[in-house]
């Protein structure tokens, strides 16, 4: 299935959760803020957020800024 992450198309396996996707990408979930189909996902819900074909995901993190 295909989902859009940060504006780019990604291929994911069916049954993947937000948490398993982040782990597969080597990204520490504690450093991520997620917006799933336009709604903020709290960190403790990453493991129960199932990804579906056509979903849109924004994944952000803090960076240096003024």
């Amino acid at each position: 299935m295909k989902i859009t992450i940060n504006g780019e198309s990604h291929t994911c396996q069916a049954g993947e959760t937000l948490l398993s996707f982040l782990k597969a990408e080597g990204i520490s979930p504690q450093t991520v803020v997620a917006e799933y189909n336009g709604s903020i996902v709290q960190m403790n819900q990453f493991g129960t957020t199932l990804l579906h074909d056509g979903d849109s995901l924004e994944l952000l993190r803090f960076v240096g800024g003024g």
Partner: protein, 270 residues
């Protein structure tokens, strides 16, 4: 003795507190974390400057490059203030602010709404809309703004915890080019005025404080200095010196010389 002098003319230094969002802020220097050549310098600069309020930005994760988690470089006792940089209108600023809060780093936010990429000047009208929404959602909101007394009053009426007019465009190191308006804002507003952006040297930060600013926010000036840690320490001292000078009430400016030594008792007097 100090207090006696100040009762006459200046202000009471003993009671000089900076309160923003119901919190007493220890340092009148706010520090940004962008543009550092090496993020390891960030905690050293925070320590050297004494800064307590630290700004960060939020960006999309880049899957093509490995990125360090910069939050590990910010001491836990700091107040984290995510900015909404990248927002071009109020809606985008509100969205970024909510995401920042979801990251679990408190409810402070620096509103930054910019749609002009050449000078990065903040859009006061859109900023005000974002302030309005976010204050109602319980954020402690500090808007970055184009210096303007009326706009600042509206921000205050909407519940902004402070206002942050620029001294010069972001990253220019040009100093306090907006002095007249910032001074009027500091005089007329009953909430803290924080000069944010454009300050390049400690003397300019001191100047902001001397004319009554409550605090100064710097980033580029420290991050791009030859020795950022030393520059951070210099800014910390400059802000303190400027604040004390403001509290002490500087003497009058005069057109002609006025001798500091007595004008009588010269050797040549008959």
């Amino acid at each position: 003795m100090l207090l006696e002098v100040n009762e006459k003319k200046g202000r009471n230094i003993m009671e000089d507190q900076l309160i923003i969002g119901g919190k007493e802020i220890k340092s009148r220097l706010f520090l940004g974390t962008g543009k550092f050549g090496d993020d390891h310098l960030i905690p050293k600069c925070i320590e050297a400057s004494g800064a307590q309020i630290i700004t960060v930005a939020m960006r999309r994760i880049d899957f093509h490059t490995s990125q360090e988690n910069m939050m590990q470089y910010i001491p836990k006792d700091c107040i984290l203030m995510p900015n909404t940089s990248g927002a071009r209108n109020a809606e985008e600023a509100v969205r970024i602010a909510r995401l920042g809060r979801a990251a679990g780093c408190g409810d402070w936010v620096k509103i930054e709404v910019v749609s002009d990429n050449k000078y990065l000047l903040p859009d006061n009208e859109e900023t005000l809309k974002a302030v309005d929404t976010l204050v109602k959602e319980g954020f402690t909101v500090l808007p970055y703004m184009t210096p303007d007394l009326y706009a600042a009053r509206r921000m205050r009426d909407s519940g902004a915890a402070a206002v942050m007019p620029f001294g010069a465009p972001i990253g220019t190191n040009k100093g306090l080019r907006t002095r007249e308006v910032v001074q009027i804002m500091a005089e007329e507003l009953d909430l803290p005025v924080v000069v944010d952006a454009g300050i390049g040297k400690p003397s300019e930060a001191a100047e902001c404080m001397e004319i009554g600013a409550a605090a100064v926010l710097v980033n580029t000036a420290v991050a791009t200095a030859g020795d950022p840690v030393r520059m951070a320490a210099a800014f910390g001292k400059a802000v303190q010196a400027g604040r004390e000078a403001f509290l002490a009430s500087p003497g009058a400016v005069r057109q002609y010389a006025e001798a500091s030594s007595p004008l009588t008792g010269f050797l040549h007097e008959a």
